[in-house]
């Protein structure tokens, strides 16, 4: 199984809204991929479908050849756009939670990253700033040894220094068997670490390319191309 994620004529209708319009897409193993598109373009819908949180209207989405379900959740590490953690829990509690839930959770890695980012693990989530909460969530997600990481807006709320650390963590964790899909608007920050970019707009995939091909053919950065393609 060379493709970790595959979409075949994938359609998702919300009431009065076509969120994904017959998407065909394959994402191979060992890639860091940017899922880029304006607000409401279908990025989160695609990621939610991959996590079995919503069901396709028609078509198929496959993770390592399987339909989303219990088996795929074992190999997919998901950072949702909104937090689902209980805010009365401490970071220590949550690390216990995650290592009970996921066989592939690496506690050592989690405590290591917490220390690097200066997060006190005995604090309750409730007492933390928005950015620190986001750091904690991302640390939990990146501490799994998963095959597919789906990160929905992972760096939006954190300061630039922490952003650099997080991106370095993604590079440092790189594993030729694992794929990372990052949905974000902060293209300039992430494009150096991406293999491929997927542009999505109004439920359609409009471009799949490597970062260097875009720079070579268009003589501009992915960020500049995005601003041009999605000019308002």
């Amino acid at each position: 199984m060379e493709n970790i994620l595959e979409c075949q004529n994938l359609v998702k209708f919300y009431p009065k809204c076509l969120a994904l319009n017959s998407v065909n897409l394959t994402v191979p193993k060992g890639k860091i991929v940017g899922l880029l598109g304006p607000n409401g373009s279908g990025k989160s819908t695609l990621i939610k479908l991959a996590n079995d949180l919503i069901q396709p209207t028609s078509g198929k989405i496959l993770i390592a050849g399987m339909e989303p379900g219990i088996e795929t959740k074992k190999i997919v590490s998901y950072l949702p756009e909104r937090t689902y953690l209980n805010d009365w829990m401490t970071v220590n509690d949550m690390i216990g939670f995650f290592s009970d839930f996921y066989q592939d959770f690496n506690k050592g890695k989690a405590y290591d990253m917490l220390a690097r980012l200066g997060v006190n693990p005995s604090l309750r989530l409730k007492t933390m700033s928005k950015g620190t909460k986001e750091k904690v969530q991302l640390i939990l997600v990146m501490s799994r040894e998963a095959q597919l990481y789906l990160l929905d807006e992972p760096i939006g709320g954190v300061d630039p220094a922490a952003r650099d650390y997080i991106l370095d963590t993604i590079i440092g964790n790189y594993n030729p068997e694992a794929t990372v899909i990052i949905s974000t608007h902060l293209i300039a920050d992430v494009e150096k670490i991406l293999d491929e970019v997927i542009f999505i707009n109004q439920g359609n995939i409009v471009l799949v390319s490597t970062v260097d091909d875009i720079r070579e053919n268009e003589n501009k950065s992915v960020d500049a191309l995005f601003r041009e393609v999605f000019k308002c």
């Binding site: 370095d168 590079i171 293999d195 970062v211 720079r215 003589n219 501009k220």
Partner: protein
């Protein structure tokens, strides 16, 4: 050293140039072992596959070679390194001459000015 990557040119070709610079300036001397792809990618904050591509290009150019079990090394062929160094120097000189021409200096005047400025610096 800080990796200085511009956003409008392919990343891998900029990595090739910067590693060339590290080699010709002796930071990675002839015959020395290069850090792993992962470490280099981490240092430059770039995708490891992109770094891999840059190293493969340098291998094709004869500046690096891979020893199957022990990693990647800078070539021991000092002449080849000097040749790359000369190419880089020529590139810089051409750029300088062209910039000076744009300012209205001919080559002779440019050289005079260069010598004068260099003397003053010393």
């Amino acid at each position: 050293m800080a990796w200085n990557l511009k956003s409008d040119r392919p990343i891998y070709s900029q990595l090739v140039e910067q590693i060339e610079l590290l080699i010709v300036s002796g930071i990675y001397p002839a015959g020395s072992k290069l850090p792993s792809v992962r470490d280099l990618a981490g240092e430059a904050s770039v995708n490891p596959n992109t770094m891999q591509r840059a190293l493969a290009q340098l291998e094709n150019d004869g500046l690096l070679y891979t020893q199957r079990t022990s990693g990647r090394f800078v070539t021991e062929d000092v002449e080849r390194i000097m040749q790359i160094k000369n190419n880089l120097a020529q590139g810089l000189i051409k750029e300088f001459i062209e910039n000076m021409r744009n300012l209205g200096y001919d080559t002779k005047q440019a050289i005079q000015l260069l010598e004068k400025t260099a003397e003053e610096e010393e």
